[in-house]
């Protein structure tokens, strides 16, 4: 049977090939952490990780992800311990209405991995990947209508500062 993994649990692929990953999470698994904002890849509220890479869950059919491992916001915390980014978002008050927050956190978790792998961005030149400008560029796929951007960038910088340099 064709399966995909969500937060380390195996699930059969849905029968209807029109099912996007986002609709699968909502309608088949009752996981509502990833949000449907625009449903066109423009807002980033549905951001999840697939094999560690961030993608828009609204712009992929489940049949394209056969055998892949999806991590949603529900799978970011481990053993009831919040991820450092989740803590930083709380401490920095990096949200207001909270609708975009699960996407922002999934996106920033992936950002830490991309930074560790030294992936370039459009503003990267040299070894410093932690400037506000660079973080803003890397997070530009996640919109926040409340305008919590400064605090989101601060939260990410806090977690980067905790990492071994």
């Amino acid at each position: 049977m064709s399966t995909l993994f969500v937060n380390e649990e195996a699930y059969p692929l849905p029968e209807d090939p029109r099912t996007t990953l986002l609709d699968f999470l909502h309608q088949h698994l009752s996981m509502f952490g990833a949000k449907k904002g625009c449903d066109h890849g423009q807002c980033g509220a549905c951001t999840v990780l697939v094999d560690g890479e961030r993608i828009n869950a609204c712009l992929v059919f489940t049949f394209q992800l056969e055998g892949k491992s999806v991590t949603t916001i529900e799978g970011i915390a481990k053993n009831d311990e919040l991820h450092p980014l989740q803590k930083a978002f709380v401490e920095r008050d990096a949200f207001q209405c909270g609708y975009c927050t699960s996407g922002q956190i999934c996106s920033s978790v992936a950002l830490l991995g991309e930074r560790a792998a030294k992936n370039p961005s459009a503003v990267t030149c040299g070894p410093d990947y932690s400037s506000k400008e660079d973080i803003r560029e890397r997070m530009s796929g996640n919109l926040c209508r409340c305008g919590a951007y400064p605090n989101i960038v601060d939260a990410i910088q806090d977690v980067i500062a905790l990492e071994p340099q």
Binding site: P17, R18, T20, D39, H40, G41, G44, T47, V50, E53, R54, I55, N56, L59, V60, F61, F63, Q64, L65, E66, S107, A110, L111, E114, N119, P120, S121, A122, V123, T124, C125, E133, R136, E137, R138, S140, G141
Partner: protein, 340 residues
Amino acid sequence: MNPFSVQHIKHTQDITGLSTEDRAKYIAGGTNLIDLMKLQVETPSQLINLSQWEDEQSITEHDDHYRVGAMVTNTALANYAYHKPSLSLLSQALLSGATVQLRNRATTGGNLLQRTRCYYFYDTTNACNKRQPGSGCAALTSMNRIHAILGTSDDCIATHPSDMAVAMIALDAKVLLTAKSGEERGVPVREFYCEPGSTPHIENILENEEVITAVIIPKQRHGSQYYRKVRDRSSYAFALVSVAAGLVVKGNRIEKVTLGFGGVGTKPWFPASAIKMLIGAEFSDEVLDLAIDAELADAKVYGSNNFKPDLLRNTFKSVLNSLYEHQCENDDYEGALYEN
């Protein structure tokens, strides 16, 4: 979304055994196609899933070229190109497009085939010859700020949105195509796209059921390089104007110039006239003006996009001047310039 069936391929030779329907479409990353399917702009009856296509997911380096498999993601290609000085222009172009989330799904083949972002193409209540041949072009007389000034026709003024394709044109890349019969051919990216003319729904030279298998990028020196993208916000927006450029100078003489324009053409624009004026010329502000004059000779504006010829001129001159200054101080340099 309309119902459709799905077929899967794992190897290139599987293409020859496919039993496809009339309205079949290949789906690679799907970031553009799924969006268009939700809007009923695309209504395929069958999708051929390329996600498991194992043969074309890698980049290989050869003596005189790089071979980029069609399923290599924009992220993977940008990361690879960043570390290759003669490809750093391509890396800049890729990283200036979309977002990390989209680049992680978008593929090399799919990026070349993405559709225009013309508002009227997306809005099925408006006339669009590209979406529905013969229905008219709402863009000609409406808001057309993002639309083309080069290669336009009375039937279509939509721009091609890809940044990557602009760099591929500048770098003289070639697309490899495989037909369902198994026949293969290679086509320069500069000759891959069609101007709209009276058939704007035909966007490229792909024939029925051909698939892009790879892109070949020749190893060449491009000197100091820069992809400058001018847009309404500094990230995650399509180009109003973009200039992909590389420059090699010896003394004051232009030995080599690499160029591609985005945001201004109905296809990723290869400025052959400008290049002709520049090659071998003494570098000066005057020669830059002559070159861009030659390229803009046939430009046509449509109201809201009247600013584009000047924006292209100024961007082109600014980029070339920066590259020239850099080359004068670093004449053996190979790689991109960065703003910070």
